[in-house]
Amino acid sequence: MSRLKVIGRRAAVLTVVVAQLAFIVRGYFTDHKPFAFQMFPESSTWRADVVRVTSDGRRVPIEQPWAGYRWDELAPDRGLPRPSVRHHADAGLDNQLAFLRSALDWVADNTPRDRETRYLEARVTSWHNADRPRIRVFRSHVREVAW
């Protein structure tokens, strides 16, 4: 048996074990928890009023289609299509709200026909397990609106 093979086996197993342990520990400190295997972590729920804030100051709920776009088509997954309805944060509240924040930015960046929205804003009410509700406001970055 070649020495190289023995060392290669050791290295492969050690690498996987160390990486797996690192991912598990990392999962306690990050919003997204790849390979941390924290399953059904919370009973937390959330809802959000998401609006488009236009360049003339109007606040338009995203439930209303705009410039040929629909929110539920732009963010159809990860519990995001109907944010105004209170529902379970499947993979935990931090994970769910991280998705919401990223979705606001993605929609702001990927709706080129929209020439009136300056930014999107979500007023989020969240209930971490049995805790009292917490209200937070998230905003997308400001878009460069063509005048």
Binding site: V13, Q20, M39, E42, S43, L74, A130
Partner: protein, 371 residues
Amino acid sequence: MSLAAIDELLGRPVSLRALALLRVFAGAVVLLHLRPFLSDASHGRIYSDAFYEPYAAWYPELPRDLYVALLWLGAAAAVAMALGLLTRLATSATFAIVAYNLFLSTTHFHNNRAYLVIVLGVLAVAPCGRELSVDAWLRRRRGKLALDPRAPAWPLWLLRLECAAIYAASGTSKLLDPDWFGGTVTWQRVVRARDELGVLPDWMVSLLTDRDFHTGAAKVIVLTELFIASGLWWRGTRYAAVWIAVVFHVTIEASASVQVFSVLGVAVLLVWAVPSTRDRVLRFDPADDLQRRLAASVRALDWLARFRVEPGPRLEVADRDGTLVREWPAVAFALSRLPLTAWFALPALLHPAVRRARRAVATDVVVVEGG
């Protein structure tokens, strides 16, 4: 444990039959996994048409047509992997495509998909196409000698470690969370889903929505996960851990949407079978119609190749330690070692008659050998 002992453990040639069988199941699981992506693609939608979030800006993204073609290639590779056709290539391609797709976006990530990538990664590095494969069949047909189905054990150990780590990580995260261990999480989840409990009898709904019930139930769930994670490692508790793990996965499948997690979780339990083959003997009386049928059933369902099935004077099973079990306890024992029937037959081994039969005959063997 010394480094030399670890090297011996990782390098010891063992049967990879369990990984070969897992490869067949994993191919089907990959098809289930890819189905929603392929369905979307066939309707003209891919991940980048809606909100997605790359893990890293440098991660390569393919043009639409190429991405869709890659998904279909992944499905074809999964079929080839399951069949064992160009097994190494097919398994590696399946792993690469499923992993690439998973890491395209944080929105693609789910625990069951991560587990699938791990399983495929291990299968890709293990020579698991030497049995239960078209490759092996073609080799036989060409008159070539069959390849040694044994190989160094390290991929098997790696998958066992990962399998246990997943239950341990899940159980530990719940153990450390006072809301989980105290029952708040499960209680709230059930209460909010009360409308879906309508099919259950009133007393059960009342029980399931009772806060005090969850104070105990949550602890049972956490300890179950931790028991599975640890119990799989010891021979004395392994069968119990596997049996409970199956119940655990079936319960999860019935109560939550977990994509391919349940089927994958149950399939991976195969890797806990002792990695040796044909080291038990089932003897049957060919003149007895029932025994002949049992022998045929065992041959057909013995996917892990546990038994040599031979004609003999009466129905009996010789275990790998020489213990003999006869008559109906032998049937229960044989069925408890077959993947499809094990879950149903394992409890029968606890029956006093079976325990007595194993003990009594084992004593006989010792006496005979001693004489």
